[in-house]
Point group: C2
Chain length 222, copies 2
Amino acid sequence: MKLLHVFEAALGYKFSRPELLRQALTHRSFGTPHNERLEFLGDSILNCVIAGALFLRFSELKEGDLSRVRASLVRQETLAEIALTLHLGDYLCLGDGEMKSSGFRRPSTLADALEAVFAAIYLDAGFDAVRGVIEQLYQPFIAHIDPAHSGKDPKTTLQELLQARRLPVPRYELLATHGEAHAQEFEVECIIAALGIRRVGMGNSRRIAEQQAANLALSEIK
Amino acid sequence: MKLLHVFEAALGYKFSRPELLRQALTHRSFGTPHNERLEFLGDSILNCVIAGALFLRFSELKEGDLSRVRASLVRQETLAEIALTLHLGDYLCLGDGEMKSSGFRRPSTLADALEAVFAAIYLDAGFDAVRGVIEQLYQPFIAHIDPAHSGKDPKTTLQELLQARRLPVPRYELLATHGEAHAQEFEVECIIAALGIRRVGMGNSRRIAEQQAANLALSEIK
């Protein structure tokens, strides 16, 4: 495990009680005390801080839209992305089995540990300290929020975009399914006839394949 | 509307910006600015404060149990109960239609407004101020938590209680259904043969009737 002060520098916070940080970075597979209780607390702190930041920044957004935008920020993918920029995986304490299966690269493990780190900061120095850290880490994400679309799935975004241009909604066609029943892969084409766009998405469910196809079509339009 | 300083005294908090409190107590039916955005923020503040309080108080509880106990504290029923002790309904600004339909007594309206009040305190004076208020209001509820059972539904609690005494699980029997398809009422009997207990519950679904019957049987055993 690398020296924790390097991680603290990346995080922009120095612990008075470094044992809290160590616990936050300890996966259950390594032993106790591990980070699962801290993750519970950190999750609620993150939700609260992001709610407050969005409330102040987007004064015109209704509660339903605030909720949607927040969901896009606190989800596992975003947390794991931030954890990667902090090289959090290099500091994780994992059991042997988890190490062998590259648990330090698993998005859920990284996201959980980052939430636990937030709780550790809260316990170390209070709410305003952790709010400062979270707002700093999330700044690039919050800056790029498009309140009308963030957190909407690609199919919804695509449909709204076409409707705004008074074009017909896209058509989705199942092209093929591969594999056995328990591990099928679906191939779906998203067709926007009015724009001459056809994009194929793949996924383990028809829904996922449609979303991927919609996402590719969206990139094409934008 | 009564004088807000009476409400502030009950709440144990005096606002620097009373307009925040007024907004928190304004239902959408009355006009803008109303309390819906504040409710979004207040909900996440409440979740965070309760998570922190439970984390510190129940150091032996696992994250799943913390989550279950928290759910029992932040749910509408608990919030509405607290709102009633504060006579919050007397201070609500409601539109005419809501007034006529006694909206000031509706649990969801009371719960939403109380969450909005929490957000107003947060915006007025920061996290530690609102944490103090919430911890004070929730103190009686937190003091009476039974970590093994709080937040579990009556059927689960009853089953666990019987299993702990090495008794067979209860039997639930549908006695009757009344009314038309869209507004049926169910009558279910909970039978604990080993203890000679039979209790009948009613409800708009079979599940609700079973839970009520289990609850009555629980009271009998305790």
